[in-house]
């Protein structure tokens, strides 16, 4: 296997060819914030939180999909990047309705964690208070669009791992909405196997188990990773 050597935040690293900058950084214990990315699902590079600076180009590149190449010099946490990340988090909070104190995911929410790590203690941009709905038609799960950040993890896990393709993105721009089936109530979509994978990977309190109450939801991406690994390597008894 051929090796690529590069420098991330001043540390010299050697990684196998094909490794992404995100994987290389994580391997070395360097934290880069992510949201849309989830190991085990196809990458979309949509949230732009993982953008990094690379010497020799003005373009910021998403670490989650950029392969490490020989001699790359990468900065992951410059003041410019930190300000960008804070702004991304502000843009996310202001476009939805996030009331952490009463959210099922309070304390276990990736968005909330990001607000903490990026120092977003208040938004410099105005809140938009959009009118959004809640879908409680499914017997076991619920979807609160107010908390959805459109990361499409649910769309991808249901399509790529469960093979049910219940979810999609409907409309466009600020009107984008996660839709079940052909924009039907979730409970009316026969394709859903009730597997709960979408709930497991949802980084916020948007998808939840009915019956969970404030602060009771924990997302479980590790279960997904174990499943994908098992399928990929045909190893069912780790």
């Amino acid at each position: 296997m051929s090796v690529r050597t590069l420098r991330i935040d001043g540390r010299d690293l050697a990684v196998p060819e094909g490794t992404t900058l995100l994987q290389a950084a994580r391997e070395a214990g360097i934290a880069i914030p992510t949201l849309c990315h989830l190991e085990g699902l196809s990458p979309v590079a949509a949230c732009r939180l993982c953008l990094v600076e690379i010497e020799g180009t003005d373009k910021l590149l998403p670490a989650c999909i950029t392969p490490a190449s020989e001699g790359m010099v990468v900065q992951t946490a410059t003041p410019r990047l930190q300000d960008i990340r804070r702004t991304v988090v502000e843009l996310l909070f202001t476009e939805g309705n996030h009331v952490c104190a009463i959210c099922v995911a309070n304390g276990h929410c990736e968005l909330q964690d990001l607000a903490v790590t990026t120092g977003m203690d208040h938004s410099r941009l105005p809140y938009r208070f959009p009118a959004r709905r809640v879908d409680l038609s499914h017997p076991f799960f619920g979807l609160d669009h107010n908390r959805c950040i459109l990361c499409t993890r649910c769309v991808r896990v249901c399509d790529e791992v469960e093979g049910a393709h219940v979810w999609d993105v409907g409309w466009r721009g600020e009107h984008c909405r996660i839709i079940a089936g052909l924009d039907e109530p979730w409970g009316a979509v026969d394709a859903c196997t009730n597997c709960g994978k979408c709930v497991q990977v949802c980084p916020t309190g948007a998808l939840f188990h009915k019956g969970d109450t404030t602060a009771e939801k924990h997302d479980e991406p590790a279960q997904l990773q174990a499943l994908v690994h098992a399928r990929h390597h045909q190893q069912w008894n780790p």
Binding site: A45, A46, R48, E95, R124, L150, D168, W171, G173, E174
Partner: protein, 537 residues
């Protein structure tokens, strides 16, 4: 008497009397008996004649030359037809003055300074007649290159011509073709981007409506050069006439063995399909366009991989703009060196612009690259009407910027416009007079981007909304210096972080007007509250 009557029946004129004019003149000519002045006249519905703002238009060609008449209204059509029917015997077409029509001087700069290569046949031939296209020389270059059978030589010609992508990016076309040609694999695809979604742009439409065979020939040459056997034209649904003319042209070309299997008796086959897009601006972005052709949701994906490697159905794909493909036959006809000599060092050839806004003569024109903007908007377009002065010229639509009046000497080429913070774009050129608020202009384009954002990435989906709100706040006179600073920094953030070209360039109209017309923004700021004077003890 003999002669040709040409009526512009392209979309710009069809609705304002062009269609009715052709119909009624046709009836007069059909009813004429031998000896009547109208008998023996040829009548053609043609594509865009150029000065679209003057429609409906009628061109008379006789032994004594060509004369153009404009300003014919739907109400005036009957009078024009009656006048033709009642011409006294012996009248020559060269002396007929249609009533209720304004003569348009064909020697004025608008026509004289043009260099029509892409639009060579547009407005001359009937776009629905393959015979006329063939008589004008269409498919001659395709036949020739097939006979010579040296695809690398064609790519080399395109490279040496200096032709760059007319879809806005200006990527060297020869290089793109060479990259796709080098890709391994037996199956490749050629795609024509005819989405033309920028407000104020209608150049591609005039080619599609006025001379579709020119595009088909260009695409077939490209397909042969890069080794593709399938092609798609992705055209927006808002262009019904373009779609109809393309359908007709494809069927005609297939019928004559100029498309389909074994083209012009060679071993080369090229299957061309039309795909009609539902008119989303983002579907003009090449990766979104590919998804849309594949039947998926039209959203962009990160590049690399570029379409040249992974395109339609995962196959190596060449994507070019309408005008890029349509430039190929004339380029090959005059030769790469002659073509390159027309433009500037870095931008070869000609460029079609659609000129609109506060300008006397609006329409579609084709000029050599490097022509100063002033020549286009002032000399050719006649400047701003009603005693106003030009304040700025907007190029590149929602992805571009404004060139201020004191920089109108700037030549139109990719680099010069970029230096000014605008872009060449696909060719929309909107003239704004001194009554225009540049904040208004910036707000209009931001509203457009907000509406057209696909919503995939956060900076564009949510950032364009916040930017639009900030601009509205300025227009309402409620913004202060901190809002202006926030507007500027958010512009940079959205530009630097968005996933595709739409979001990356959405802030450009704001940044460019902030650069050249900061005063317009400052004038709108809320006055700082006056400090209350200390009470005198």
């Amino acid at each position: 008497m003999s002669g040709i009557l040409r009526v512009c029946t392209a979309a710009g004129c069809a609705g304002c009397g062009g269609s009715a004019l052709r119909e009624q003149l046709g009836a007069v000519i059909a009813a004429a008996t031998t000896g009547d002045p109208a008998s023996g006249l040829a009548l053609k519905g043609v594509g865009c004649l150029g000065p679209c703002g003057e429609g409906a238009l009628l061109e008379l060609e006789s032994a004594s030359g060509r004369r153009l008449f404009g300003g014919i209204t739907p109400e005036g059509v009957a009078a024009v037809a009656a006048s033709l029917a009642n011409l006294s015997p012996g009248t020559d077409l060269g002396t007929w003055a249609p009533p209720a029509a304004r003569p348009i001087d064909l020697e004025q700069p608008f026509f004289r300074l043009q260099k029509r290569l892409v639009l060579e046949h547009c407005g001359r031939i009937d776009p629905e007649s393959l015979a006329e296209a063939l008589a004008a020389g269409s498919y001659g270059q395709l036949r020739r290159v097939l006979q010579e059978n040296r695809p690398e030589a064609v790519i080399e010609q395109v490279r040496r011509s200096g032709l760059r992508g007319r879809g806005g990016g200006g990527y060297p076309t020869g290089l793109k073709w060479a990259t796709v040609a080098r890709m391994p694999g037996p199956e490749k695809v050629v795609v024509c981007n005819a989405d033309e979604g920028d407000p104020g742009a209608f150049m591609d439409r005039s080619v599609l409506e006025g001379d579709p065979h020119r595009l088909l020939e260009g695409m077939a040459i490209a397909a042969w050069a890069v080794g593709a056997s399938r092609g798609f034209i992705y055209v927006r649904a808002e262009y019904p006439m373009a779609i109809a003319h393309l359908r007709t042209a494809i069927a005609q070309a297939e019928d004559q063995g100029l498309l389909g299997a074994a083209i012009a008796g060679s071993a080369f086959g090229f299957q061309l399909e039309l795909r009609v897009g539902a008119g989303a601006f983002v579907c003009g972005e090449e990766t979104a366009l590919i998804h849309s052709i594949e039947g998926q949701r039209g959203v962009p994906r990160p590049r690399p991989p570029y379409p040249a490697e992974v395109g339609v159905f995962g196959l190596p794909t060449l994507i070019n703009n309408v005008e890029t493909f349509a430039s190929v036959p004339p380029l090959l006809a005059i030769g790469a060196e002659a073509y390159a000599a027309i433009g500037t060092t870095n931008s070869g050839g000609t460029k079609v612009f659609s000129l609109t806004g506060d300008v006397r003569l609006a329409g579609v024109l084709e000029v050599p690259m490097g022509t100063p903007i002033a020549t286009i908007v002032e000399t050719m377009g006649g400047g701003a009407p009603d005693g106003h002065a030009i304040k700025a010229v907007q190029t590149g639509g929602p992805s571009g910027g404004c060139v201020p009046a004191n920089r109108l000497d700037t030549p139109v080429d990719y680099e010069s416009l970029q230096e000014l913070g605008s872009i060449m774009g696909s060719g929309g050129m909107v003239v704004m007079d001194d009554s225009t608020s540049m904040v208004d202009v910036a707000c209009f384009f931001m509203a457009f981007c907000r509406e057209e954002s696909c919503g995939k990435c956060i900076p564009c989906r949510s950032g364009t909304v916040q930017l639009h709100l900030l601009l509205q706040k300025h227009l309402a006179g409620e913004a202060d210096a901190a809002d202006l600073a926030q507007l500027e920094s958010l512009c940079h953030m959205v530009k630097d972080t968005s996933l595709c070209g739409l979001g990356q360039s959405a802030p450009k109209p704001v940044l460019s007007t902030l650069r050249h017309f900061r005063g317009d923004y400052l004038a709108l700021l809320r006055p700082e509250p006056e400090a209350t004077p200390e009470p005198v003890p």
